[in-house]
Protein backbone atom coordinates (compact mmCIF):
# COMPACT_ATOMS: atom_id res chain seq x y z
CA UNK A 1 0.00 0.00 0.00
CA UNK A 2 1.82 3.12 -1.17
CA UNK A 3 0.51 6.65 -0.87
CA UNK A 4 -1.49 6.42 -4.08
CA UNK A 5 -3.19 3.20 -3.02
CA UNK A 6 -4.11 4.70 0.33
CA UNK A 7 -5.50 7.84 -1.30
CA UNK A 8 -7.45 5.83 -3.87
CA UNK A 9 -8.93 3.72 -1.10
CA UNK A 10 -9.92 6.85 0.83
CA UNK A 11 -11.33 8.69 -2.17
CA UNK A 12 -13.39 5.69 -3.27
CA UNK A 13 -14.83 5.56 0.22
CA UNK A 14 -15.71 9.25 -0.13
CA UNK A 15 -17.18 8.48 -3.56
CA UNK A 16 -19.40 5.75 -2.09
CA UNK A 17 -20.52 8.18 0.59
CA UNK A 18 -21.30 10.82 -2.05
CA UNK A 19 -23.43 8.29 -3.93
CA UNK A 20 -25.72 8.22 -0.89
CA UNK A 21 -26.60 11.81 -1.62
CA UNK A 22 -27.33 11.15 -5.28
CA UNK A 23 -31.05 11.47 -5.89
CA UNK A 24 -32.47 8.06 -6.86
CA UNK A 25 -31.60 7.66 -10.52
CA UNK A 26 -33.23 5.67 -13.26
CA UNK A 27 -31.54 3.18 -15.52
CA UNK A 28 -32.15 4.18 -19.15
CA UNK A 29 -34.58 1.91 -21.06
CA UNK A 30 -35.55 -0.08 -17.97
CA UNK A 31 -36.77 2.89 -16.01
CA UNK A 32 -36.44 1.45 -12.53
CA UNK A 33 -35.37 4.03 -9.95
CA UNK A 34 -32.48 2.82 -7.83
CA UNK A 35 -30.40 4.15 -4.98
CA UNK A 36 -26.89 4.55 -6.19
CA UNK A 37 -24.88 3.66 -3.11
CA UNK A 38 -24.67 -0.08 -3.64
CA UNK A 39 -23.18 0.63 -7.07
CA UNK A 40 -20.18 1.98 -5.19
CA UNK A 41 -19.53 -1.41 -3.60
CA UNK A 42 -19.24 -3.25 -6.90
CA UNK A 43 -17.37 -0.38 -8.55
CA UNK A 44 -14.81 -0.30 -5.73
CA UNK A 45 -14.05 -3.95 -6.39
CA UNK A 46 -14.08 -3.61 -10.16
CA UNK A 47 -11.90 -0.49 -10.36
CA UNK A 48 -9.60 -0.89 -7.35
CA UNK A 49 -9.32 -4.68 -7.20
CA UNK A 50 -9.87 -7.03 -4.28
CA UNK A 51 -7.68 -5.65 -1.50
CA UNK A 52 -8.09 -1.95 -2.07
CA UNK A 53 -11.79 -2.33 -2.85
CA UNK A 54 -12.44 -4.21 0.38
CA UNK A 55 -10.38 -1.72 2.39
CA UNK A 56 -12.25 1.25 0.99
CA UNK A 57 -15.61 -0.32 1.89
CA UNK A 58 -14.16 -1.03 5.32
CA UNK A 59 -13.44 2.69 5.65
CA UNK A 60 -17.07 3.52 4.88
CA UNK A 61 -18.17 1.09 7.60
CA UNK A 62 -15.71 2.70 10.02
CA UNK A 63 -17.29 6.08 9.27
CA UNK A 64 -20.72 4.60 9.96
CA UNK A 65 -19.46 3.17 13.24
CA UNK A 66 -18.01 6.45 14.49
CA UNK A 67 -21.35 8.14 13.99
CA UNK A 68 -21.37 9.92 10.65
CA UNK A 69 -24.52 9.91 8.48
CA UNK A 70 -22.84 8.45 5.42
CA UNK A 71 -25.40 5.86 4.32
CA UNK A 72 -28.28 6.38 1.89
CA UNK A 73 -31.07 8.35 3.54
CA UNK A 74 -28.59 10.04 5.89
CA UNK A 75 -28.34 6.99 8.13
CA UNK A 76 -25.35 5.98 10.20
CA UNK A 77 -24.16 5.43 13.74
CA UNK A 78 -23.63 2.27 15.75
CA UNK A 79 -27.36 1.53 15.73
CA UNK A 80 -27.11 0.51 12.08
CA UNK A 81 -24.84 -2.37 13.10
CA UNK A 82 -27.39 -3.53 15.66
CA UNK A 83 -30.33 -3.52 13.26
CA UNK A 84 -31.63 -6.55 11.35
CA UNK A 85 -30.08 -5.40 8.05
CA UNK A 86 -26.53 -5.04 9.42
CA UNK A 87 -25.45 -8.16 7.54
CA UNK A 88 -25.80 -6.43 4.20
CA UNK A 89 -23.49 -3.69 5.42
CA UNK A 90 -20.90 -6.15 6.72
CA UNK A 91 -21.19 -7.82 3.32
CA UNK A 92 -19.89 -4.69 1.57
CA UNK A 93 -16.14 -5.31 1.99
CA UNK A 94 -16.65 -9.01 1.23
CA UNK A 95 -18.64 -8.22 -1.91
CA UNK A 96 -16.07 -5.69 -3.08
CA UNK A 97 -13.33 -8.25 -2.42
CA UNK A 98 -15.08 -10.99 -4.39
CA UNK A 99 -15.86 -8.71 -7.33
CA UNK A 100 -12.33 -7.33 -7.28
CA UNK A 101 -10.77 -10.77 -7.16
CA UNK A 102 -12.74 -11.86 -10.24
CA UNK A 103 -11.80 -8.70 -12.14
CA UNK A 104 -8.15 -9.29 -11.25
CA UNK A 105 -8.08 -12.96 -12.09
CA UNK A 106 -10.00 -12.68 -15.34
CA UNK A 107 -8.98 -9.21 -16.43
CA UNK A 108 -8.81 -10.38 -20.06
CA UNK A 109 -12.51 -11.19 -20.03
CA UNK A 110 -13.56 -8.21 -17.92
CA UNK A 111 -14.20 -6.01 -20.94
CA UNK A 112 -17.13 -8.16 -22.04
CA UNK A 113 -20.37 -7.02 -20.45
CA UNK A 114 -21.48 -10.62 -19.88
CA UNK A 115 -18.43 -11.52 -17.82
CA UNK A 116 -18.14 -8.21 -16.07
CA UNK A 117 -21.82 -8.42 -15.08
CA UNK A 118 -21.23 -11.92 -13.81
CA UNK A 119 -18.35 -10.70 -11.64
CA UNK A 120 -20.54 -7.95 -10.20
CA UNK A 121 -23.41 -10.37 -9.62
CA UNK A 122 -21.14 -12.79 -7.77
CA UNK A 123 -20.00 -10.02 -5.40
CA UNK A 124 -23.18 -7.98 -5.16
CA UNK A 125 -25.59 -10.89 -4.88
CA UNK A 126 -23.92 -14.24 -4.24
CA UNK A 127 -21.65 -12.85 -1.55
CA UNK A 128 -23.64 -9.92 -0.18
CA UNK A 129 -27.04 -11.59 0.12
CA UNK A 130 -26.00 -14.74 2.04
CA UNK A 131 -24.26 -12.60 4.68
CA UNK A 132 -27.25 -10.29 4.89
CA UNK A 133 -29.83 -13.07 5.00
CA UNK A 134 -27.86 -15.03 7.59
CA UNK A 135 -27.74 -12.02 9.91
CA UNK A 136 -31.40 -11.21 9.26
CA UNK A 137 -32.30 -14.76 10.21
CA UNK A 138 -30.19 -14.69 13.39
CA UNK A 139 -31.08 -11.22 14.65
CA UNK A 140 -34.72 -11.45 13.60
CA UNK A 141 -35.04 -15.00 14.87
CA UNK A 142 -36.79 -16.17 11.72
CA UNK A 143 -36.00 -19.47 9.98
CA UNK A 144 -33.37 -19.21 7.26
CA UNK A 145 -35.68 -20.40 4.46
CA UNK A 146 -38.28 -17.76 5.33
CA UNK A 147 -35.58 -15.07 5.42
CA UNK A 148 -34.30 -16.17 2.01
CA UNK A 149 -37.82 -16.09 0.63
CA UNK A 150 -38.39 -12.60 2.00
CA UNK A 151 -35.27 -11.16 0.42
CA UNK A 152 -35.70 -12.77 -3.01
CA UNK A 153 -37.82 -9.73 -3.92
CA UNK A 154 -34.67 -7.62 -4.02
CA UNK A 155 -32.69 -9.90 -6.32
CA UNK A 156 -34.08 -8.66 -9.68
CA UNK A 157 -33.30 -5.05 -8.78
CA UNK A 158 -29.84 -6.02 -7.63
CA UNK A 159 -29.18 -7.87 -10.89
CA UNK A 160 -30.00 -4.64 -12.76
CA UNK A 161 -27.65 -2.72 -10.48
CA UNK A 162 -24.91 -5.28 -11.05
CA UNK A 163 -25.25 -4.95 -14.83
CA UNK A 164 -25.17 -1.16 -14.52
CA UNK A 165 -22.07 -1.37 -12.33
CA UNK A 166 -20.47 -3.77 -14.82
CA UNK A 167 -21.09 -1.38 -17.72
CA UNK A 168 -19.70 1.56 -15.74
CA UNK A 169 -16.67 -0.50 -14.74
CA UNK A 170 -15.93 -1.41 -18.35
CA UNK A 171 -16.16 2.19 -19.51
CA UNK A 172 -14.05 3.45 -16.63
CA UNK A 173 -11.36 0.84 -17.20
CA UNK A 174 -11.30 1.62 -20.91
CA UNK A 175 -11.06 5.35 -20.30
CA UNK A 176 -8.33 4.94 -17.71
CA UNK A 177 -6.38 2.72 -20.08
CA UNK A 178 -6.86 4.95 -23.11
CA UNK A 179 -6.45 8.48 -21.86
CA UNK A 180 -4.74 8.36 -18.51
CA UNK A 181 -1.93 6.00 -19.24
CA UNK A 182 -3.01 3.16 -17.01
CA UNK A 183 -2.47 -0.40 -18.11
CA UNK A 184 -5.51 -2.60 -18.59
CA UNK A 185 -5.43 -3.78 -15.02
CA UNK A 186 -3.12 -1.42 -13.21
CA UNK A 187 -5.13 1.43 -11.83
Amino acid sequence: MNTRDTVLVALFAAFTVALAFFPPITIPLVGVPITAQSLGVMLAGAVLGANRGALSMGLVLALVAVGLPVLAGGRGGLGVFMGPTAGYLVGWPLAAYATGLLFERFSGKANYLVFSSLFCIVGGIFVMHPVGVLWLSISGGIPLDKAVLGTLVFVPGDVLKAVAAAYIAIQVRKALGATMGYGANRI
Binding site: T6, F21, T26
Partner: protein, 230 residues
Amino acid sequence: MTASFYIHKESWLHRLAAGRKLFCLAVLGTGISFVSDLWLLAGALSLCVCLFPAAQLRLVVAYNQVRPLFWIMAALFVAKLFTGPLSDAFVVILRLCILVLAAGLITVTTKTSALLTVLERVLTPLSVFGFSAPRMAFALSLVIRFIPVVGQISQEVREAQQARGLGTNIFALIIPFVLRIVKMAEQVSQAIDARGGLPDAKPSPAVMRRSQAVRRSVSAPMGAETDQPH
Protein backbone atom coordinates in the same frame (compact mmCIF):
# COMPACT_ATOMS: atom_id res chain seq x y z
CA MET B 1 -23.39 17.41 4.42
CA THR B 2 -21.77 15.22 7.06
CA ALA B 3 -22.26 16.78 10.43
CA SER B 4 -22.02 13.92 12.90
CA PHE B 5 -24.91 12.64 15.01
CA TYR B 6 -23.15 13.81 18.17
CA ILE B 7 -25.24 16.10 20.36
CA HIS B 8 -23.25 18.12 22.82
CA LYS B 9 -24.56 18.19 26.40
CA GLU B 10 -22.97 18.05 29.84
CA SER B 11 -24.00 14.75 31.34
CA TRP B 12 -22.36 11.78 33.01
CA LEU B 13 -23.14 9.71 29.91
CA HIS B 14 -21.26 12.19 27.74
CA ARG B 15 -18.32 12.13 30.13
CA LEU B 16 -18.13 8.31 30.34
CA ALA B 17 -15.13 7.03 28.36
CA ALA B 18 -16.00 5.88 24.84
CA GLY B 19 -14.29 2.53 25.33
CA ARG B 20 -16.39 1.78 28.41
CA LYS B 21 -19.61 2.65 26.62
CA LEU B 22 -18.73 0.36 23.74
CA PHE B 23 -17.78 -2.41 26.16
CA CYS B 24 -21.19 -2.07 27.83
CA LEU B 25 -22.85 -2.27 24.43
CA ALA B 26 -20.94 -5.45 23.62
CA VAL B 27 -21.97 -6.99 26.97
CA LEU B 28 -25.57 -5.93 26.42
CA GLY B 29 -25.59 -7.33 22.90
CA THR B 30 -24.28 -10.69 24.04
CA GLY B 31 -26.39 -10.85 27.16
CA ILE B 32 -29.66 -9.89 25.56
CA SER B 33 -29.63 -12.84 23.17
CA PHE B 34 -30.07 -15.14 26.19
CA VAL B 35 -33.03 -13.21 27.60
CA SER B 36 -36.45 -14.09 26.28
CA ASP B 37 -38.59 -12.98 29.20
CA LEU B 38 -41.00 -10.33 27.93
CA TRP B 39 -41.15 -8.36 31.18
CA LEU B 40 -37.40 -8.32 31.59
CA LEU B 41 -36.99 -7.07 28.03
CA ALA B 42 -39.67 -4.43 28.49
CA GLY B 43 -37.86 -3.28 31.62
CA ALA B 44 -34.57 -3.07 29.74
CA LEU B 45 -36.25 -1.11 26.96
CA SER B 46 -37.71 1.43 29.36
CA LEU B 47 -34.31 1.72 31.02
CA CYS B 48 -32.77 2.47 27.61
CA VAL B 49 -35.41 5.08 26.90
CA CYS B 50 -34.87 6.65 30.33
CA LEU B 51 -31.14 6.97 29.66
CA PHE B 52 -31.89 9.56 26.98
CA PRO B 53 -33.39 12.11 29.41
CA ALA B 54 -30.60 11.13 31.82
CA ALA B 55 -28.17 12.32 29.14
CA GLN B 56 -30.17 15.58 28.91
CA LEU B 57 -31.54 14.55 25.54
CA ARG B 58 -35.14 14.90 24.45
CA LEU B 59 -37.17 11.73 23.92
CA VAL B 60 -37.58 12.52 20.24
CA VAL B 61 -33.87 11.71 19.89
CA ALA B 62 -34.63 8.19 21.12
CA TYR B 63 -37.56 7.95 18.72
CA ASN B 64 -35.33 9.04 15.83
CA GLN B 65 -33.03 6.08 16.52
CA VAL B 66 -35.76 3.50 15.92
CA ARG B 67 -37.86 5.32 13.34
CA PRO B 68 -35.83 4.27 10.25
CA LEU B 69 -36.31 0.64 11.28
CA PHE B 70 -40.10 0.85 11.45
CA TRP B 71 -40.89 -0.95 8.18
CA ILE B 72 -38.31 -3.67 8.52
CA MET B 73 -39.49 -4.31 12.08
CA ALA B 74 -43.09 -4.49 10.91
CA ALA B 75 -42.04 -7.02 8.25
CA LEU B 76 -40.12 -9.03 10.84
CA PHE B 77 -43.10 -8.95 13.20
CA VAL B 78 -45.42 -10.32 10.52
CA ALA B 79 -42.87 -12.98 9.56
CA LYS B 80 -42.58 -14.02 13.22
CA LEU B 81 -46.37 -14.25 13.54
CA PHE B 82 -46.44 -16.89 10.85
CA THR B 83 -43.60 -18.94 12.30
CA GLY B 84 -44.29 -18.91 16.01
CA PRO B 85 -46.30 -17.60 18.95
CA LEU B 86 -47.10 -13.93 19.43
CA SER B 87 -44.73 -13.59 22.39
CA ASP B 88 -41.77 -14.60 20.20
CA ALA B 89 -42.59 -11.80 17.78
CA PHE B 90 -42.57 -9.27 20.64
CA VAL B 91 -39.31 -10.65 22.03
CA VAL B 92 -37.52 -10.13 18.71
CA ILE B 93 -38.82 -6.59 18.24
CA LEU B 94 -38.00 -5.65 21.85
CA ARG B 95 -34.45 -7.02 21.56
CA LEU B 96 -33.84 -5.06 18.37
CA CYS B 97 -35.25 -1.85 19.84
CA ILE B 98 -33.08 -2.17 22.96
CA LEU B 99 -29.89 -2.72 20.98
CA VAL B 100 -30.59 0.01 18.46
CA LEU B 101 -31.48 2.47 21.23
CA ALA B 102 -28.38 1.62 23.26
CA ALA B 103 -26.12 1.91 20.22
CA GLY B 104 -27.82 5.14 19.19
CA LEU B 105 -27.33 6.52 22.68
CA ILE B 106 -23.58 5.93 22.36
CA THR B 107 -23.55 7.58 18.95
CA VAL B 108 -25.26 10.76 20.13
CA THR B 109 -23.30 11.05 23.38
CA THR B 110 -19.80 10.30 22.10
CA LYS B 111 -17.62 12.56 20.00
CA THR B 112 -16.56 11.24 16.61
CA SER B 113 -12.93 11.84 17.55
CA ALA B 114 -13.29 9.72 20.71
CA LEU B 115 -14.85 6.86 18.73
CA LEU B 116 -12.08 7.15 16.13
CA THR B 117 -9.46 6.79 18.85
CA VAL B 118 -11.16 3.67 20.19
CA LEU B 119 -11.40 2.25 16.68
CA GLU B 120 -7.71 2.87 16.12
CA ARG B 121 -6.86 1.19 19.42
CA VAL B 122 -9.11 -1.81 18.74
CA LEU B 123 -7.64 -2.35 15.27
CA THR B 124 -3.99 -2.01 16.33
CA PRO B 125 -3.58 -5.78 17.04
CA LEU B 126 -4.35 -6.37 13.35
CA SER B 127 -0.85 -5.14 12.57
CA VAL B 128 0.12 -8.82 12.80
CA PHE B 129 -1.57 -9.21 9.41
CA GLY B 130 0.17 -6.17 7.96
CA PHE B 131 -2.69 -3.82 8.77
CA SER B 132 -1.59 -0.39 9.86
CA ALA B 133 -3.88 1.39 12.31
CA PRO B 134 -2.14 4.79 11.98
CA ARG B 135 -2.55 4.66 8.22
CA MET B 136 -6.17 3.66 8.59
CA ALA B 137 -6.70 6.67 10.84
CA PHE B 138 -4.98 8.82 8.24
CA ALA B 139 -7.16 7.38 5.47
CA LEU B 140 -10.27 8.00 7.58
CA SER B 141 -9.39 11.63 8.09
CA LEU B 142 -8.76 11.86 4.33
CA VAL B 143 -12.24 10.49 3.64
CA ILE B 144 -13.85 12.95 6.03
CA ARG B 145 -11.87 15.79 4.51
CA PHE B 146 -12.73 14.80 0.95
CA ILE B 147 -16.45 14.03 1.27
CA PRO B 148 -17.37 17.69 0.61
CA VAL B 149 -14.88 17.87 -2.29
CA VAL B 150 -16.26 14.70 -3.84
CA GLY B 151 -19.78 16.04 -3.36
CA GLN B 152 -18.72 19.18 -5.18
CA ILE B 153 -17.37 17.09 -8.07
CA SER B 154 -20.63 15.15 -8.25
CA GLN B 155 -22.48 18.47 -8.44
CA GLU B 156 -20.23 19.72 -11.25
CA VAL B 157 -20.64 16.53 -13.25
CA ARG B 158 -24.41 16.67 -12.82
CA GLU B 159 -24.59 20.27 -13.98
CA ALA B 160 -22.43 19.52 -17.00
CA GLN B 161 -24.58 16.56 -17.98
CA GLN B 162 -27.81 18.44 -17.36
CA ALA B 163 -26.61 20.98 -19.92
CA ARG B 164 -26.34 18.07 -22.36
CA GLY B 165 -29.78 16.76 -21.40
CA LEU B 166 -28.24 13.77 -19.64
CA GLY B 167 -29.02 14.86 -16.08
CA THR B 168 -30.88 11.64 -15.23
CA ASN B 169 -28.66 9.21 -17.10
CA ILE B 170 -26.86 7.15 -14.49
CA PHE B 171 -24.00 6.26 -16.84
CA ALA B 172 -23.41 9.81 -17.99
CA LEU B 173 -23.28 10.84 -14.33
CA ILE B 174 -21.19 8.12 -12.75
CA ILE B 175 -18.55 7.33 -15.38
CA PRO B 176 -17.03 10.86 -15.47
CA PHE B 177 -17.46 11.03 -11.70
CA VAL B 178 -15.30 7.93 -11.14
CA LEU B 179 -12.70 9.14 -13.65
CA ARG B 180 -12.37 12.45 -11.85
CA ILE B 181 -11.99 10.63 -8.54
CA VAL B 182 -9.10 8.57 -9.89
CA LYS B 183 -7.48 11.67 -11.35
CA MET B 184 -7.85 13.57 -8.10
CA ALA B 185 -6.35 10.62 -6.19
CA GLU B 186 -3.25 11.02 -8.35
CA GLN B 187 -2.88 14.69 -7.44
CA VAL B 188 -3.67 14.22 -3.76
CA SER B 189 -1.15 11.42 -3.37
CA GLN B 190 1.53 13.55 -5.03
CA ALA B 191 0.66 16.37 -2.66
CA ILE B 192 0.94 14.03 0.34
CA ASP B 193 4.27 12.65 -0.84
CA ALA B 194 5.56 16.17 -1.33
CA ARG B 195 4.72 16.84 2.31
CA GLY B 196 6.52 13.84 3.77
CA GLY B 197 4.29 10.94 2.76
CA LEU B 198 2.07 8.66 4.79
CA PRO B 199 2.45 8.22 8.54
CA ASP B 200 4.66 5.30 9.56
CA ALA B 201 2.98 1.92 9.48
CA LYS B 202 3.71 1.41 13.19
CA PRO B 203 2.30 3.93 15.63
CA SER B 204 4.89 6.21 17.21
CA PRO B 205 4.03 8.90 19.75
CA ALA B 206 4.90 11.73 17.37
CA VAL B 207 2.77 10.29 14.59
CA MET B 208 -0.13 9.66 16.95
CA ARG B 209 -0.01 13.30 17.99
CA ARG B 210 0.15 14.44 14.39
CA SER B 211 -2.71 12.27 13.19
CA GLN B 212 -4.80 13.39 16.15
CA ALA B 213 -4.03 16.99 15.32
CA VAL B 214 -5.06 16.39 11.72
CA ARG B 215 -8.22 14.70 12.86
CA ARG B 216 -9.08 17.52 15.21
CA SER B 217 -8.56 20.13 12.53
CA VAL B 218 -10.61 18.04 10.14
CA SER B 219 -13.52 17.31 12.44
CA ALA B 220 -13.73 20.66 14.16
CA PRO B 221 -15.72 22.61 11.54
CA MET B 222 -18.09 19.75 10.84
CA GLY B 223 -20.38 19.73 13.81
CA ALA B 224 -20.86 21.43 17.11
CA GLU B 225 -17.91 19.46 18.42
CA THR B 226 -15.65 21.34 20.73
CA ASP B 227 -12.81 19.91 22.70
CA GLN B 228 -13.65 20.67 26.29
CA PRO B 229 -11.01 20.21 28.94
CA HIS B 230 -12.07 17.48 31.33
